[in-house]
């Protein structure tokens, strides 16, 4: 594989009209023969100036790639949703029934002050498969100084992680799908278009959106197991299959996370939280640990970078996500950030786009998702195992085509 990373790879995509002649070559396939194509689709958009993006934009992006899903799960995450409650953790739940809600609220009352709670508006679609969960969100503050808090011996964030883990693990039928500040996850079992309608995504506005449509193959399709998978301010949309799952799970479970969602993608979220928030690694180093270079390529790096690369591989060998993947990572601490990363062979698609004015940046599995909302987008592809990073207020920090540790370590 050509790994001349100093060169910037910019792909140009010709207009559709110049490729096809006037006559259409597309054959109409009868319904019964429509192929079940696909794998997961991911899409994300962010405005660098922090201005709000309507949910209908991300809905358009993800539904454009309808061939990448099979109706077994989809979801959205928005950042900058609750400016009035920006300092509170927003815990959004899927409850199977009233019992699970009551049990959860009882457990939570020992751990956190509830500032506000509300029902999340939902609109069950006729085409969707019942039963539908109760969706509720709580704006909470940790009960600092209480006996429960002191006994855990944790800092605020780890305390919140512990709360989420114990609810997901112990309360039957209750799943906390997001727990960060100023953000929320909307997900469920269904096609992306159905989930978008179920939550009426277009009613929300955020400075960054990520979304996912699912074609599960190795794990069951169910409401809580859909993506994005979120903890604190982290949210992950993952397209791929992790062949090293047993190893990755070990690392996160040793660090106190509990894998309860029956999907391999869960560990990706916890790995980001562990490495970047708890171990304070720069995101580029964490991305390198997850999708490291081959040793033969590491050999070619300058001295210091080689030492660093080897040390990351040695120390975080359990964080190495083997197998094909492309992921979108969102976080809001300290600023709203979108990261896009593909595996080190780039066996899953990932393209980036930026609007003509340079303010809106997009990431998606397929170009069509980006072109459907931003016709003038300049496109580029990230390199294998190379993260693209976009931050509100700072712009495109990395395009995903640079040297592995350039400027960040």
């Amino acid at each position: 594989m050509d790994r001349d990373y100093m060169q910037t790879a910019t792909l140009s995509f010709p207009e559709a009209s110049s490729v096809f002649a006037e006559q259409s070559y597309v054959v109409e396939i009868p319904d019964c023969h429509k192929p079940r194509m696909g794998s997961c689709g991911i899409a994300g958009c962010i405005n660098i100036d922090g201005s709000m993006i309507s949910g209908s934009k991300i809905e358009k992006m993800i539904t454009t790639m309808s061939e990448r899903e099979n109706g077994l799960g989809s979801g959205f995450v928005a950042y900058g949703l609750f400016p009035d409650f920006a300092e509170e953790y927003c815990m959004q739940f899927l409850f199977e029934n009233e019992d699970s809600q009551a049990q959860t609220e009882e457990l939570m009352s020992n751990w956190v002050y509830m500032i506000k709670d509300e029902k999340v508006p939902t609109f069950p679609q006729r085409s969707m498969m019942p039963p539908f969960p109760l969706v509720r969100r709580y704006f909470v503050r940790p009960k600092k100084g209480t006996e429960v808090y002191i006994r855990t011996g944790l800092n605020e964030e780890d305390y919140m992680v512990r709360l989420v883990m114990s609810i997901n693990e112990t309360v039957p039928g209750s799943y906390c799908v997001s727990s960060g500040k100023d953000m929320a996850v909307f997900k469920g079992s269904g096609y992306a278009r159905e989930i978008a309608k179920f939550y009426d995504i277009s009613r929300y506005k955020g400075s960054m959106w990520l979304s996912h449509s699912r074609f599960p193959t190795n794990s069951p399709g169910w409401w809580a197991g859909s993506h994005p998978i979120s903890i604190l301010d982290w949210s992950i949309c993952h397209n791929g299959e992790i062949t090293s799952y047993g190893v990755n799970r070990k690392l996160v479970e040793m660090a106190g996370y509990k894998c309860t969602l029956l999907t391999d993608s869960e560990v990706v979220t916890y790995l980001w939280d562990l490495m970047v928030r708890r171990h304070r690694l720069p995101p580029t180093a964490a991305a390198f640990a997850m999708a490291p270079w081959y040793y033969k390529d590491i050999e070619r790096l300058p001295d210091n970078e080689r030492r660093l690369a080897n040390q990351l591989r040695i120390t975080y060998k359990e964080a190495f996500l083997n197998g094909p993947f492309s992921i979108l990572v969102g976080r809001s601490d300290p600023v709203v950030t979108m990261m896009a990363l593909a595996d080190r062979k780039k066996l899953r698609p990932l393209v980036m786009g930026v609007s003509g004015d340079g303010n809106s940046v997009y990431a998606a599995s397929e170009e069509c998702a980006i072109k459907s909302v931003q016709g003038d987008a300049e496109m580029w592809a990230t390199r294998a195992g190379n993260p693209a990073i976009v931050k509100v207020g700072e712009g495109i920090v990395r395009r995903g085509t640079e040297a592995p540790f350039l400027g960040a370590i």
Binding site: K250, M254, H279, L281, I314, K317, F320, G323, I409
Partner: protein
């Protein structure tokens, strides 16, 4: 006292009289005195052990070694083997010695484990077309890299002494003494050529082998034979041997017949004396003492090499392992029940310990529960016979596998279980000059290199089929194994699902 019952012979060379040209090569070949030349023909006597050296030497293929029918009257409980050992004991009054690994029909769990492969959702990888990495590290890992207050990674504070190997394979500890100079030279040269590690065993290190020290792991055993400061400082890692899978609770046994001049110099012991290592280290009667020895060795090697501990797999191995890691061991070797030896009491060789499959999984799980697994390298040995065993052992939890018997077989060993007699006709487990000269170092080296090269290729093939492109992603990845044996309880203990169970 004259034995009243003789033990029937088990094997017998059969000679094709028409093909035999009476060259007497077979008679010279037989180091067990089973062949003689009388009345102008080869005469077959007693004592054949089926080492098949005579078969190898015969220029006209006139010899076959046949297993004789059981002479004893059949009995379902007192098997011929049991009767044999009882008669031997009645004759000699002694502890029966034996060698190689356990020769008892314990359940072989490796054969009950099946590997996974990638289909559809993740692409399998062809190692001939795409890189599949097998580089492996041995030593303590920091658990996390140190990031300073400015958010910079502090490499100097993060790096620990670590050994890099090109394959997750270590040639186990086989001492000079139990095997010949030539045999050890071949093992060490092969390790150097393959860039893997080889253990020195407890017999110290011969002067000639110091140039290969970068690929050697020095053993410090209870006898402390040949442990000098040079020995500790020049090698790439140091291993404290507490126990060995073939004889848990015992020290090394080197019969006096094998202590010739070369051995006596390297071990620093008088000629012809039995070298029997103490059962425990006499300065380690507790975990605190072990901690002190680990510190002493780290001090004396100036914290530049990893210091590890090797124990036999015994019933409480998980807890013991966690204590050892907490005591400061950088790597940990678990040696299973079926592991080999140059000499051990048969009763302990065949009856004490625990299979490596269960031990490695138990230790891996225990270290994980205690949050220690990402800090230590786990080596597993004890009858890792083939690449398949190696792969399953890695998936059960080992970072590195230790291999001895298979490497010896590559050199010519036929596993006739006579190592303790010091008369190895292949020149491996002997010190008699006329026998050791039979082993050509160059050829033996090449054969070991060939075998491990093939193992590594097979490892890559399997990793590729699983959709994994680096061996570290297989370590302890028990999700990719399934159990198909007779006892589901074993699957539970191994933390491996039963064949037919998916993972969602």
């Amino acid at each position: 006292m004259k034995p009243i019952v003789t033990i029937p012979e088990k094997y017998r060379p059969a000679i094709d009289r028409e093909a035999c040209i009476r060259c007497k090569k077979c008679i010279k070949a037989c180091s067990y005195g089973a062949l003689d030349f009388k009345d102008d023909k080869v005469k077959v006597g007693k004592g054949c052990v089926a080492c098949i050296r005579c078969v190898y030497e015969c220029p006209t293929d006139a010899i076959t070694v046949i297993e004789l029918p059981k002479q004893f009257a059949p009995h379902a409980v007192f098997s011929p083997e049991i009767r044999r050992s009882l008669i031997s004991q009645a004759n000699s009054g002694g502890v029966l010695l034996s060698s190689c690994g356990a020769n008892a029909e314990y359940m072989d769990i490796f054969n009950d484990i099946l590997l996974d492969a990638a289909q559809v959702t993740n692409p399998s990888i062809d190692p001939l077309r795409e890189p599949v990495e097998t580089k492996t590290y041995l030593g303590r890992r920091p658990g996390k890299v140190v990031v300073d207050d400015n958010g910079k990674i502090d490499l100097d504070a993060s790096e620990t002494p670590i050994v890099v190997m090109d394959m997750p394979i270590m040639i186990g500890h086989i001492s000079l003494g139990s095997i010949s100079y030539n045999a050890q030279a071949a093992l060490f040269r092969a390790a150097t050529e393959l860039n893997i590690l080889a253990g020195t065993g407890e017999g110290g290190l011969h002067n000639d082998f110091y140039p290969m020290a970068k690929n050697l792991c020095a053993e410090v055993a209870s006898g402390r034979f040949g442990v000098t400061s040079q020995y500790l400082k020049e090698v790439s890692c140091v291993d404290i041997k507490i126990g060995q899978g073939a004889k848990p609770g015992h020290g090394g046994h080197l019969p006096g017949e094998k202590v010739q001049k070369l051995i006596s110099e390297t071990r620093m012991i008088p000629l012809g004396t039995d070298a029997l290592s103490p059962y425990p280290h006499h300065d380690i009667y507790s975990i605190e003492d072990l901690q002190q020895l680990i510190s002493v060795l780290k001090e004396s090697t100036e914290y530049e090499v990893p210091v590890g501990v090797k124990i036999a797999a015994v019933h409480n191995v998980g807890a013991i392992a966690s204590g050892i890691v907490r005591a400061g061991a950088d790597f940990l070797t678990i040696d299973g029940l079926r592991g080999g030896t140059g000499s051990a009491p048969r009763v302990i060789r065949d009856h004490a310990g625990m299979p490596i499959e269960i031990a490695v999984s138990a230790v891996d799980q225990r270290l994980e529960q205690e949050g220690l697994r990402d800090k230590v390298t786990l080596c597993a040995s004890g009858s890792i016979r083939t690449a398949a065993d190696m792969i399953k052992c890695i998936a059960l939890g080992a970072d590195v596998v230790g291999v001895c018997t298979s490497a010896m077989i590559a050199m010519g060993c036929t596993v006739c279980q006579q190592c303790h007699r010091g008369a190895c006709s292949w020149g491996i487990a002997t010190q008699k000059p006329e026998l050791t000269s039979r082993l050509d170092i160059e050829i033996a080296t090449q054969r070991i290199v060939n075998m491990f090269h093939a193992w590594n290729e097979e490892l890559k093939e399997i990793l590729g089929a699983m959709g994994i492109d680096s061996v570290e992603s297989l370590v302890g990845n028990r999700d990719r194994l399934r159990y198909i044996g007779p006892n589901p309880r074993i699957a539970e203990i191994l933390d491996v699902k039963h064949s037919g169970e998916g993972w969602g």
